[in-house]
């Protein structure tokens, strides 16, 4: 028996909406808690002190790859953005490059975080 199912969700982002709106434009918006912890991606509760408030803070969008995995068609990485206290999983927009530094760019055919790698790691 065939049973097709097509669903079209509409998902509000609530308090985290500014982060996702910025991400769609290729900008990194983190949440800085009053304790100083900077979460990127942001979370409703601060991992350091448990507070539920915080201020939005723009990061430069520069990131450094800590670990990278390659699939036959794409590459992902665990990377840390400058100014953030957490790392984040993201998609590499330029998988043909093997450098470890890059900057956030607007999403391509999937939403989420996309990182374009620099041509060289000369600044290291």
């Amino acid at each position: 028996m065939k049973r097709p199912l097509q669903l079209d969700y509409n998902i509000p982002r609530g308090r985290l909406a500014p982060h996702f709106e910025a991400l769609a434009q290729g900008r990194a918006l983190a949440l800085r808690c009053s304790c100083g912890h900077v979460a990127f991606p942001p979370a409703l509760t601060c991992a350091a002190c448990g507070a539920h408030d915080g201020d939005w803070v723009a990061l430069s969008g520069q990131a450094r790859i800590e670990h990278r995995t390659d699939t036959p068609g794409a590459a992902w990485a665990l990377a840390r953005f400058a100014g953030a206290d957490t790392a984040v999983m993201l998609r590499i927009a330029t998988p043909e490059l093997t450098t470890r530094r890059g900057h956030l760019v607007p999403p391509e055919h999937h939403a989420g975080l996309w990182l374009a790698l620099e041509e060289t790691d000369d600044d290291d």
Binding site: H67, D70, P72, W76, A77, H110
Partner: protein
């Protein structure tokens, strides 16, 4: 913990069904066989705990009520448990809590999943990617293999583990599965075969990955006083559950499955068991490296990587691991996985496991299962009948 026995159990073969049977058929088969194994009748069951990960797989919301109806169970306590990959194990623990608290006398825990035959692999993979943070990882198109791969890379960097270590595990679990008539992938493969298999997500290759499986498994839980006279059954001696940050990047050590150690300590305390008394383990090996990461986090040996290289986790070793074949060999129908792990451990301790067995059954066995990427970790200690 009070006297909760694994009174009996059964499972269907784990595989990709091509025989036109339905998940409802598998549930009935596992349930009736488990009842027979426990020498009980359906009317003896006063609670049904259903383990099913996702309605997207079965396309059946409220599955517990439907399954109870199909099994002919009426006017009893029925509920469904879900916790990602740990779903089946959590259901066993929830069923045991009902028995130990006196809210039920004989609980059937029935795990089932119908993903492999219902949907193509890409669709299942897409749904699995929602098992992490669906708003971050889940939206980028990343799959489970890549998430596990990134964690494995962090683990390799911290410990010195290699792809060869992972390949040895992947091959051994498939070889173990060759003794298991219910196994999905009972493959005669070597470490070299694993290393030569198609790349999936570095460092993982195809044979490093567990399959998508269909199947069901069922165990009956009850106190000794509520069971008929018969052979002694293993005791669910201790249970623990602990969580970790969902996003890998939020963890201080993304290669370490830290919550497993927390869950283990709770389970050991409840069981009154020391870690060095555990003589067998069924460990959640969704990927080959995850088995080593689990053993590292659980701390069952001082140096798990050295122990792995020394052969201590083989059937002849000091601590046999995944003699069933684990997820890599036996298969992984999610809701049924943890139930089958508990069943295998119990039958090993009772000396009646229908597969690869150690020369002498130990007193204690460990069962380890997790959801997400060791985000929701369940550990149980099972004790041999005495």
């Amino acid at each position: 913990m009070s006297d909760v026995r694994i009174a009996g159990g059964a499972m269907t073969p784990f595989n990709r069904r091509k025989d036109a049977s339905s998940w409802r058929d598998w549930c009935l088969s596992a349930f009736t066989d488990a009842l027979a194994d426990a020498a009980l009748m359906a009317g003896d069951i006063d609670a049904l705990m259903v383990a099913s990960e996702s309605d997207f797989f079965s396309l059946q919301l409220n599955p517990a009520a439907l399954i109870a109806d199909e099994l002919g169970l009426r006017r009893i306590r029925v509920q469904r448990v879900e916790g990602g990959g740990a779903t089946g194990h959590l259901a066993v623990q929830a069923g045991a809590a009902l028995v130990s608290s006196g809210q039920a006398r004989r609980v059937a825990v029935l795990g089932v999943e119908a993903s492999a035959s219902h949907l193509d692999g890409a669709s299942v993979g897409g749904l699995y990617s929602l098992s992490y943070d669906a708003w971050s990882e889940g939206e980028s198109g990343i799959g489970s293999a890549s998430i596990y791969a990134l964690s494995a890379l962090a683990f390799m960097a911290e410990t010195g583990a290699t792809s060869e270590d992972f390949a040895r595990i992947a091959a051994r679990n498939r070889q173990n599965a060759r003794h298991n008539r219910f196994a999905h992938l009972p493959l005669d493969v070597t470490e070299a075969d694993v290393l030569a298999s198609a790349p999936v997500s570095t460092p993982y290759r195809r044979l490093d990955c567990s399959p998508l499986s269909d199947g069901a498994a069922c165990v009956i839980l009850a106190a000794s006083q509520d069971l008929p006279e018969g052979p002694g059954r293993a005791r669910l001696a201790g249970m623990g559950v602990a969580n970790d940050r969902v996003r890998l990047g939020d963890r201080a050590h993304p290669g370490c499955f830290t919550a497993k150690g927390v869950a283990l300590r709770a389970a050991l305390a409840q069981a009154g068991c020391a870690v060095d008394q555990i003589g067998l383990a069924e460990v959640y090996d969704s990927f080959s490296g995850a088995q080593l990461q689990a053993l590292q986090a659980l701390g069952l040996t001082a140096d798990p990587l050295a122990a792995e290289r020394d052969g201590q986790f083989t059937v002849e070793g000091a601590l046999p691991v995944n003699l069933s074949g684990g997820l890599l060999g036996q298969g992984a129908p999610v809701g049924a996985t943890g139930v089958a792990q508990v069943l295998a451990a119990a039958q090993q301790l009772e000396g009646r496991y229908p597969g690869l067995r150690p020369a002498r059954a130990p007193r204690f066995a460990l069962v380890d299962t997790h959801g997400g990427i060791a985000t929701l970790c369940a550990v149980s200690i099972v004790e041999a009948p005495r």
